[in-house]
């Protein structure tokens, strides 16, 4: 266990280094700095600003300085939002994404898991074919289609829910973005759960449970649930990453103040530190959640040996 953790962390460090270097290198390799605005600044002011942000130093010094700051958890100051650090921007945006993303994944696991299990129990009947057809549709329709369509129906035509914006603690503002974000994951989870459930229901220990005369409910909940959950847990790690990037679209469709919005405006305005910082953060979260998913996997399935 400890050896496994150590091995994974040993791989995580070079991975983070690769991500930070890629992002940093890309941004510095391109022409146009953050302070090349249309109206020319007086040269001495430009120089003093560049000195303040260490832009006058050679790139390798900036790179080393940046890595040093990163190691202390400091993403540096934002170029675009003056007097604001990237850490502050992330702190204001990330909770929004965390709320939406975790609610969407929770909905996906609950709804998708149930639908998939029921489809497996009713295999090759309409309760199987119908939902599975919808599931392929759900995977195929992108978030930027379902989002506007949901707004069109529930906000513009029915006036039931607000079409966007964000207020902390008000569920009305959450419903549409979470639904739009969750739909493809519900569909995906339903497919994976169906496949896993079919395999589990065919295995000898379920046959034994049935032969003992246990009711279907007990067989499913007591015996089949855990092995059905297994492939879903390993899906959660990568899913978390795609929920994060998927929320970039959700944020732009529903006008939410998450980090995706900062990321897009930062990329367009060449806000080096902001863009590199958010990319590194995404990478760190992906690594952390994959590790967490592996640990959960081993916890749920005692046969799994953790190997680094």
């Amino acid at each position: 266990m400890l050896k496994f953790l150590a091995g994974r962390l040993a791989l995580a460090v070079p991975t983070m280094l690769v991500i930070a270097t890629l992002a940093f290198g890309l941004l510095h390799a391109t022409p146009g700095g953050p302070f090349d605005t249309a109206k020319r600044m007086p040269p001495e002011i430009q120089r003093s600003i560049e000195a303040k942000y260490h832009l006058d130093e050679p790139v390798w010094r900036q790179y080393l300085r940046y890595l040093g700051d990163l190691a202390h958890g400091d993403f540096g100051p934002s170029f675009q939002y003056r007097n604001t650090s990237v850490n502050e921007l992330i702190r204001s945006g990330l909770p929004v994404d965390a709320v939406i993303g975790s609610l969407a994944l929770l909905a996906a696991m609950l709804v998708g898991g149930c639908v998939g299990t029921v489809a497996a129990l009713r295999r090759n009947r309409w309760l199987d074919h119908g939902p599975m057809f919808l599931a392929v549709l759900g995977i195929s329709i992108p978030v930027f289609v379902t989002g506007p369509l949901l707004i069109l129906v529930f906000a513009v035509q029915l006036h039931w829910l607000p079409s966007g914006d964000w207020r902390w603690g008000e569920i009305r503002y959450l419903l549409l973005p979470v639904t739009a974000l969750a739909l493809p994951y519900v569909a995906y989870v339903a497919r994976v759960a169906r496949g896993a459930a079919i395999e589990v229901f065919a295995s000898p220990f379920i046959l034994t449970a049935r032969a003992k005369g246990l009711p279907t409910r007990t067989v499913v909940l007591r015996h089949a649930l855990r092995p059905v959950l297994l492939p879903l847990v390993s899906f959660l790690g990568p899913a978390f990453a795609s929920v994060l990037t998927g929320s970039i679209v959700i944020e732009s469709v529903f006008g939410l103040p998450g980090i995706g919005k900062y990321f897009l405006t930062g990329a367009i305005n060449r806000d080096y530190t902001l863009v590199v910082g958010i990319t590194v953060l995404y990478g760190a979260l992906i690594i952390a959640f994959n590790l967490l998913a592996d640990l959960c996997y081993a916890w749920l399935d005692p046969r799994v040996r953790l190997q680094s």
Binding site: T30, V145, P148, L149, V156, T245, T279, I286
Partner: protein
Amino acid sequence: MNAAAIAGRVRVAGQWLQSWRRLRRHPPALVALALLGLVVLLALLVPLVSPYDFATPNWDELYQPPGRQHWLGTDGLGRDLLVRVMWGCRISLLVGIAASLVSVVIGVLWGATAGYAGGGTDSAMMRIVDILYAVPFIPLVIVLTVLFGRSFLLVFVAIGAVSWLDIARIVRGQTLSLKNREFIDAARALGLSSTTMIVRHVVPNLLGIVIIYATLTVPTVILFEAFLSFLGLGVHAPLASLGTLIAEGAKHMKAHPYLLTIPAVFLTLIVCSFSFLGDGLRDALDPRQQR
């Protein structure tokens, strides 16, 4: 031609024929194939046949609803939506297929090399794949397109370079298990040259799984391109991919919902068809993975 080669040829032919028979028993895949054919045909022919142009504005016919003049209506610049949507299908399909090819080529070469070489080379190459898995590629591609301008080629290369990881893993696993199979030993014992062996026995066994994953990569790539276009990072105006059209439609959906729904229907149709076709091919080409 010796007996072994003849046996090899018979086996291969039988395998593809059987696959086709299995695919024919899979109605959703057949419907998907037919729909895809129809969309490709329309996308190729409509812009040639239609009297309208995808780029020229027509100020007298702004926001015409679908009707006899313009079957799918016109957009905010009076341009025929049917022609624009068909151009969008062309671009989406082209990007999807070309970028999938890029990723399949990289993935197969990488995976087959790693699986065939084994040992240290294998684990080093797969470690690189592990590291790349954790790289948040979508943000990086967004940065790339913002920084280097919205070039068509870049979109191909970026998407292709992102989506080869899964294929590399699958092909490696397949190569590893193929290396130790009895029929490979048998073929070797019969004295087949290694070229014949690769062409007759290894490639057909890899090909099925590669075709399946290529088919399943196309829709994800199309969605990814549409995603970039939706954020305004895709092809240049006046050319429009389906993603651009959807983004434009979403802006005007309150007054003119057809501008959103029509391109959305076509995008969904294409992506769904590829998914169903991929599912059908999985059953047809990979019989060991029975449902």
